[in-house]
């Protein structure tokens, strides 16, 4: 059992920004499209000229959670913010581009093939120099990242933790079409960021014999968002005002659960922010 408070979750997806953009039923709303893309966010600055779309989605998700909290980038800069990044597949686009651009791809492209490219751009943009971990995997990896963020907070190694997930599919849509047994449909691109702080919330990782109501709700409304799904589920839970959030995540035949008990007063306050 770890102690941390969930302050807010910023969500963007192929449906648009925020939970309000999600349809009631993703499968029906997708109308047979195999995947739903998020356009490259238009972010200012010469520095982003070479950044990949998935990097910009990471930056945009952090901006979304900052907006929810009513905070500025200055509030999170420095060594007291931990950044934990999760993805199952977002490196696929840059990896493929590098392979297929041979032999012309080079100095500018190769560093962006690393799974660490997305959190690197986020860390540079917001000057995050605190604890830094990059998990690769689907929804179970996000649950592990949330649990690890709580451990860092509980040990006093950071004053806040951002758990960021980004998933993109469009550039590798033909490859994903070969793995229908691994990925559900429709594939919906998403980027989500949860903001954790020290507080009275209690968080516990559990076995999960079945998908939780929140996880099913997130899947039904957003579609298959892989590592983003637990964060979308948490956002939905906050919105509902519940003081006990139970999310589950599945990946590669495993399922993990996360039970998060929030202090009642804070949960209703936070619910209003989502």
């Amino acid at each position: 059992m770890s102690v941390a408070r969930l302050e807010a979750v910023g969500v963007i997806s192929g449906w648009g920004e925020g939970l309000g953009a999600l349809p009631g039923e993703a499968t029906r709303a997708c109308a047979g499209q195999p995947s739903l893309m998020i356009k490259r966010p238009s972010l200012d600055g010469e520095r982003f000229r070479r950044a990949t779309r998935e990097c910009l989605l990471g930056v945009a998700a952090v901006q979304a959670v900052l907006a929810k909290r009513g905070r500025s980038p200055r509030d999170i800069a420095g060594g007291s913010t931990a950044l934990l990044y999760v993805t199952a597949a977002a490196y696929g686009a840059s990896n493929r581009a590098f392979v297929e651009a041979a032999p012309t791809a080079g100095t500018l492209h190769f560093p962006y093939t690393a799974a660490s490219a997305v959190p690197a751009e986020v860390a540079i943009e917001f000057q995050l120099t605190g604890p830094y971990v990059i998990f690769v995997g689907g929804a179970t990896a996000t649950i592990e990242a949330l649990a690890h963020a709580a451990v860092l907070i509980e040990r006093g190694e950071c004053e806040r933790a951002l758990v960021l997930a980004v998933e993109t599919f469009r550039e590798c849509e033909d490859l994903h079409a070969r793995t229908r047994w691994l990925l559900a449909r429709p594939l919906v691109e998403a980027a989500a960021c949860a903001w954790l702080e020290p507080g009275e919330g209690r968080l516990r990782v559990t076995d999960a014999p079945a998908a939780s109501t929140l996880a099913r709700h997130a899947r039904r409304r957003a579609g298959e968002t892989l590592a983003c799904e637990p964060l979308i589920a948490l956002a939905l839970g906050l919105e509902s005002g519940d003081d006990r959030l139970h999310v589950t995540g599945e990946w590669r035949g495993r399922r993990l659960g996360l039970e998060w008990t929030l202090p009642p007063r804070a949960s209703s306050r936070m619910g209003a922010q989502v």
Binding site: A120, I124, R178
Partner: protein
Amino acid sequence: MGVDPVAIVAAGVVTPIGENLDAFWAGLVTGRDGLSTIERFRVDDLRVGRGGEIKNVPLAAGERPPACRATALLLAAARDLLGRAALDAEPARIGVVVGTALGGVERLEQALDDKDHRPRLVAGALYDSPGHALARRLGSRGPELTVSTACASGATALGIAADLLRADRADLVIAGGFDGLCRFVMRGFDALRSLTRERVRPFDRRRSGLLLGEGAALVLMARDRDAQGPRLGRLLGHASTSDAAHIAAPHPDGRGLVSAVRGALAHAGVGPGDVDFVSAHGTGTPLNDRIETAALKTALGPRVGAIPVNSIKGALGHTMGAAATLEAIMCLLASRHGIVPPTLGYEEADPACDLDYVPRFARSVRTRVSVSTSLGFGGCNAALVLEGIA
């Protein structure tokens, strides 16, 4: 006060200088050079075609080699480990945490060329596929995690594994790092002009770049109070930090590395004065070695001049995701044997790199507390504080 230390019970490796733990150590101490011309894939169109290639990955009797090179390396290291220690816990209480820079990316190259559109190639291209294959082979049902802090991954994996044990999420964790050499990464580093045509010379005045290598390294970890019988040593502390400076180069002052070393020491509950030995990242690139030297001075203070500092990348090449775990294991073996392996390739001092880099020959030194440092693309930094057993 630091956190609870975690026991490192045993280790297993496969490397360019030795296909198991004993051969790896013997190779380090005797100065074996594991760098050679790459034979497994085409390199004739690259500026540099040399690296730390493992010519024969050991297999179990009757075993067919896994089609994925990275998985083959990881399973070979696991076999070596399991020959030295038993997994004496319920499957649900055994975790697997591995670090990688590349995962199964070679399978992506194959998938893109695959006219039969085999799904297995695509699934294998996901970076967590080799770790998943290891967990399946072991039959473990506890936490299964892949981390990818680039070339610091093998250190981050050990730190995360220790935290899983402290949180009672598992009773045993197999943790470590791996990466295979493939055209993808050779092309990338070749394009960056990071690869040297000369000898790899960490911290040497004439250093001109790195060579890549491949390998896998795993350790069996348990809560210190639960570990019975012989052990290699203990992980006392760990920290991973971000530079927030550049996508592919370290911060000019090494601020992230300084912060990681200080964080790991605080985590361990020890001070700079307790450190007996430093295993440096030491890639042999002009920039890394200068910045790392400056960062070690800042983090460890004036006493760093009296501490032996080595890099084993002159012998192995830069084994990417495996590097930090191999270096952590080396630290523990150095304590056990009272010997610090030399920095192969280091001969001429550089005024900007003015520490004691253990030149030419292995040195008899009693070491107990070691610091191992790692850096990677994306501004990743990690430091481990290890305690060996003399």
